[in-house]
């Protein structure tokens, strides 16, 4: 079981496992960054990666806010980002390694170190699980996220993703 609940003093963030009642906020955060509302996808992702199963990590970054309301200070907690990853072994022949395949930060909280704290935490989880490499995959037009991973020290991997448009394949007939 991989239970995570870590308070990061410097940023005031708590990094912990996602819970069922976080899903609405996760869906909202994803929609604010991707522009697409996809609740079914996130429910399925939570089912697969939020179950505290070894090697699977669905983590959220929670910030403690203090809001003045009716001359009183009210404290509330808000999720400002999430990260998902897992350990995959022997995929395309590669040694077991950590994969980060989702990273989202509240647009209003960017440049506050949220992504860095989440990334460091999941890397620590991978390290404790005994793997030495962390991988991710990003659209090359997504310069903001790529620059973030680069700033964390990630370099091009020896694998190159390839794709095929099936409609091109249909138009070309038999490619062989």
């Amino acid at each position: 079981m991989t239970k995570i609940d870590i308070f990061h003093e410097e940023t005031g963030l708590t990094i912990r496992n996602a819970k069922t009642n976080d899903l609405a906020r996760i869906i909202e955060l994803d929609e604010s960054s991707s522009g697409i509302n996809k609740p079914d996808y996130w429910q399925e992702s939570f089912r697969r990666f939020g179950s505290l199963q070894d090697g699977r990590y669905f983590l959220v970054a929670e910030k403690n806010n203090e809001i003045e309301k009716n001359q009183q200070i009210e404290k509330n907690r808000e999720i400002v980002g999430f990260i998902i990853g897992e350990i995959r072994a022997w995929e395309f022949g590669s040694q077991p390694g950590g994969w980060v395949f989702s990273l989202t930060v509240d647009p209003g909280t960017r440049l506050a170190g949220v992504a860095t704290v989440m990334f460091n935490t999941i890397c620590q989880c991978f390290r404790q699980a005994g793997v030495d490499k962390v991988h991710t995959m990003i659209d090359r037009d997504n310069i903001t996220v790529m620059a973030f991973f680069r700033s964390q020290g990630m370099m091009a991997a020896s694998t190159i993703p390839l794709q095929l448009s099936l409609s091109d394949m249909d138009n070309a007939g038999d490619l062989s």
Binding site: R140, D141, I143, M146, A147, R150, S151, G153, A156
Partner: protein
């Protein structure tokens, strides 16, 4: 991929200056470190000055200092001052380019260019400085 000498010298200069933000370095010091002519370096520093990445500080102890934003300035930003990076579709057609093989080759070369462009565009000066520190801390095997 090979960058023009001016682009490489510009990258070396901004990285050297950005790595020492509280200091002013003379053009002679930079030229000596990278083993280039002072004349060539002066032209590069002038272009970097126009792009507001470096500024000259006059007077005793003067020199050049980095005045850009190392967290925001990418390798692409610096290289583009000196040469075009989008290599395909630039410079007109070469013999054979319009044939079926020429158009297929253009697709493959374009793929290489797109990857190179994304790489240069995603690496900031600050990331380069971190990479440099990391590589130099690693024990030599």
């Amino acid at each position: 991929m090979k960058l023009q000498r001016s682009s490489r010298l510009a990258l070396y200069s901004v990285l050297e200056l950005a790595s020492r933000p509280d200091e002013q370095l003379s053009a002679a010091d930079i030229a000596a470190k990278f083993d280039v002519s002072l004349n060539h370096l002066a032209k590069v520093l002038r272009d970097l000055g126009r792009a507001r990445l470096v500024e000259a500080v006059r007077g005793a102890g003067g020199g050049y200092r980095f005045c850009g934003n190392a967290r925001r300035t990418t390798l692409k930003d610096v290289v583009e001052i000196f040469e075009p990076i989008t290599l395909h579709d630039v410079g007109g057609f070469e013999p054979g380019d319009k044939t079926e093989f020429g158009t297929s080759l253009a697709v493959v070369l374009g793929e290489i260019d797109d990857i190179a462009l994304a790489t240069l565009d995603s690496i900031t000066l600050e990331t380069m400085l971190k990479l440099t520190n990391r590589l130099h801390k690693q024990p030599k095997g």
